[in-house]
């Protein structure tokens, strides 16, 4: 293939041949090679372990300053948001800085329907929501309304591109917050809406309001843990939904739009329609997360829906790896967990630290982390590997195996790669093009 020359020392030929040969890739390859039942057999216990984290109270992992269950519940919400935002930013490549608007709309929908202080309260006399099931009934309504708002906001703005889109969505996010703040008569303005409904389940002597009520339980199994479990259910549903979309025509269109919108348009992808789809789907997932938030905190007010938090969501997506569903969940975990990990901690492994202060400085550290990450690893912690969507995973793995077999034959010929040329999503795509074409030839 290439001119045979001696491999340079310190630069192994395998690395040259295989652009993705890190630990993560090894794990991913191994995982992809497993059969479906094996994947379930391994994945399910792992999921259960993750779900049981707040109960197990692992010494170093458990937060000191705040309730670990509460932290994990917050992580659940952020993970759901990250999955939704990932559809918009990671999949379709639309930079949405006002995503928090959808989160707010979801939260306010539930609050407006179920809070006694809201003029549209439906839980009281004459309302059509039963007291016990109000939250669960309001959840699909919140999702539907945020999806609708995504449609309304997206249809005029998605004709704009890139930076313009970013700033206009930022404007919309701010408008949603300011509306919530200024429409005193409906949203209660700065006072917010209190006593939002929550699922009334597991009512017992000790928990007269059910396990989801804010004051319920103590110690390891408190309301936060229940909310965390509820959010895991929603996350799994969202992951199945988004994962299937990714492998469909819609998902392929998103990737095409992300990589080159003009080219996609020319190739017959109705770009505007699929961008709108991404916006609406992302919005509805954000709305679901907002509903979770409103239920868990049982109170909404505008201050939580500011731009800084919107940027924090974006942080989670970028940090984890745009486009990778598991990556963004990891990103959400880092964003939520790290500050809480340090909160109230006075020592770590015997080294004395002032944890509360570190937690206070979190935006400073997030800012530095973002800057450093963008220079050295712009693809995020767990980068996306979006390849051969048409041919399916099985074929891809088969092709990988063939290439693996060919590796030994090509041991002596070195393949000059220019290393990491460009950065970012482009590089993930571009680095893999060589491998892609090989795999396609195999097919």
């Amino acid at each position: 293939m290439t001119t045979p020359n001696a491999p340079t020392p310190g630069h192994s030929t395998t690395t040259g041949l295989r652009p993705h040969s890190g630990v993560g890739d090894a794990v991913r390859l191994w995982w992809d090679a497993q059969a479906r039942p094996t994947q379930w057999a391994l994945g399910l216990p792992l999921l259960i372990l993750i779900a049981l984290l707040p109960i197990l109270q692992i010494p170093v992992l458990t937060t000191v300053g705040t309730n670990f269950g509460g932290v994990m519940a917050q992580f659940g919400m952020y993970a759901l948001i990250a999955i939704g935002l990932n559809v918009v930013v990671g999949q379709a490549g639309l930079l949405d800085l006002g995503y928090i608007g959808f989160y707010a709309i979801g939260a306010y929908t539930v609050a407006l329907l179920t809070s006694p202080s809201s003029p549209w309260n439906q839980t009281g006399d004459g309302g059509w929501l039963s007291q016990d099931w109000a939250w669960l009934a309001a959840l699909p309504i919140a999702v539907a309304i945020t999806a609708l708002s995504g449609l309304l906001i997206g249809s005029p703005t998605l004709r704009l591109r890139g930076d313009y889109l970013a700033i206009v969505t930022l404007g919309f996010g701010e408008i949603v917050r300011l509306l919530a703040d200024n429409l005193d008569g409906i949203t209660g303005g700065g006072r917010g809406l209190a006593q939002v409904a929550y699922p009334r389940a597991g009512v017992s002597e000790t928990n007269p309001n059910g396990v989801f009520s804010a004051g319920s339980g103590s110690g390891a199994l408190n309301s936060g843990v229940w909310w965390y479990w509820l959010s895991i259910v929603l996350i799994v549903i969202a992951l199945l939904f988004v994962g299937n979309l990714e492998r469909s025509r819609v998902g392929r269109s998103w990737v095409a739009i992300r990589e080159d919108e003009d080219a996609a348009e020319i190739m017959g992808v109705p770009t505007f329609r699929f961008k709108l789809w991404a916006f609406v789907i992302g919005a509805s997932i954000g709305g679901a997360s907002g509903a979770l938030y409103a239920g868990q905190v049982q109170f909404v007010n505008p201050t939580n829906f500011n731009v800084i938090n919107s940027v924090l969501f974006l942080c989670a997506v970028v940090l984890g790896g745009q486009g990778n569903k598991l990556g963004v969940i990891l990103g959400a975990f880092v964003i939520v967990y790290l500050p809480n990990f340090f909160l109230g901690r006075t020592e770590i492994f015997g080294i004395p630290i002032d944890g509360t202060q570190i937690a206070e400085y979190r935006y400073l550290f997030f800012g530095i982390a973002l800057m450093v990450l963008m220079v050295f690893r712009p693809q995020g912690l767990l980068p996306v590997r979006q390849k051969l969507l048409t041919y399916g995973r099985e074929l891809y793995v088969a092709a990988r195996r063939t290439i693996k077999a060919q590796d030994s034959e090509l041991q002596d010929s070195s393949h000059h790669r220019t290393g990491r040329g460009s950065t970012g999503r482009d590089s993930t795509g571009r680095d893999s093009t060589g491998r892609d074409s090989t795999a396609k030839e195999q097919a």
Partner: protein, 345 residues
């Protein structure tokens, strides 16, 4: 028909006030005050527009450059021996203008320095790697966080609590607002005069610099075609640095003018919304277009002031964002179109 309309207005009345008559009553006062805000927006918008014109990058951290400029001029005033007492100093016109000039230079130095430093530390490594624009934007957001939190937490430690921190700085007043003359029914104060006149002078100077000097030609050349400009002997890196410097300097000047109008605005989070609005102004006028940024700034300031009287003060920011969205819907390239490279005159 009219009955239905009236009915909706009555229903909407308690939620959103709708008072057009107030606009008519205070038209001139609102215009004049809007121009003072507009001048500040315009100067900050120049920073966005120049960087965008040359690099196709939204320098999201420019709002923090402006914020640091406010602290820069404040620190300069403190170094000159002023302190935050309740009353305004009364030193006569000449001395006041001199001290204000000194403070402005302080603000310009800090802002310009931060802007150039930001370019060196944050953006240049990315440029060398040829990163896509999303990466630049996210870095800018990160830098914005860092600069804000620096003033929030680190600066008070460095200065022993005199600068920075959670609370806004106690205002140092050099000028007491006094009515000088009237336009229509509007009172024009000395503060308004200082802001508008200095902003106009700076805008004029920048315009001349971009359009008449060798450096300005270089900026326009790089904005138009970076490769050809490099082939013609223009150092792209140096031009980029110059662009950030000019943007920073103008933001520093704007910072001083803004604190004259809003003395309690010197706080770590004080640049954020203003920066977004200045960016809106740049987009309104046509981003990448210098005169567009100036026009957009003045327009935004005035429209926002009209809007806040018609709909109520709390809707001020909403008016700005809605205006931006409407303009982008109708004319996505802004009022004057986006062209720094092609702007001959």
């Amino acid at each position: 028909m009219t009955g239905g309309l009236l009915h909706t207005m009555v229903v909407a009345e308690p939620l959103i006030g709708f008072d057009v008559a107030a606009l008519g009553r205070n038209f001139w006062a609102l215009t004049v005050d809007g121009l003072t805000y507009g001048s500040v927006y315009a100067l900050v918008a120049v920073g966005y527009t120049l960087v965008y014109g040359v690099l196709r990058l939204i320098n999201f951290a420019h709002s923090e450059v402006f914020m640091l400029g406010m602290f820069g001029q404040y620190a300069a005033l403190m170094l000159l021996g002023f302190g935050p007492n309740g009353d305004a100093y009364d030193m006569g016109i000449v001395m006041t203008v001199l001290y204000l000039g000194a403070a402005m230079i302080g603000g310009m130095a800090i802002s310009g320095g931060v802007a150039v430093g930001l370019e060196r530390v944050a953006y240049r490594p990315l440029r060398k790697r040829g990163a896509p624009s999303l990466v630049f934007l996210i870095t800018a957001i990160g830098a914005s966080f860092v600069l804000q939190e620096f003033v929030h937490f680190v600066l008070p430690r460095l200065t022993g609590g005199t600068l920075g921190g959670v609370n806004a700085q106690q205002p140092i007043r050099l000028v007491e607002p006094e009515v000088q003359f009237q336009i229509g029914s509007a009172n024009v104060t000395n503060v308004t005069l200082i802001i508008v006149v200095s902003a106009l002078l700076l805008a004029l100077a920048t315009d001349q610099f971009i359009n008449r000097t060798k450096f300005g030609r270089g900026i326009r050349a790089v904005a138009q075609d970076p490769v050809t400009a490099t082939l013609m002997g223009v150092s792209r890196e140096r031009i980029i640095m110059l662009t950030f410097l000019i943007g920073g300097i103008l933001a520093g000047a704007a910072a001083l003018l803004y604190t004259l109008r809003v003395p309690n605005g010197i706080v770590y989070s004080g640049g954020f919304i203003l920066g977004i609005k200045a960016f809106c102004a740049a987009v309104l006028g046509g981003i990448g277009n210098l005169r567009g940024a100036l026009l957009g700034g003045l327009l935004l300031g005035v429209m926002e002031n009209y809007g806040q009287v018609v709909f109520g003060t709390e809707w001020r920011d909403v008016v700005a964002f809605v205006l931006l969205i409407l303009v982008l819907m109708v004319r996505p390239t802004g009022i004057l179109g986006e062209s720094l490279g092609r702007a001959r005159a």
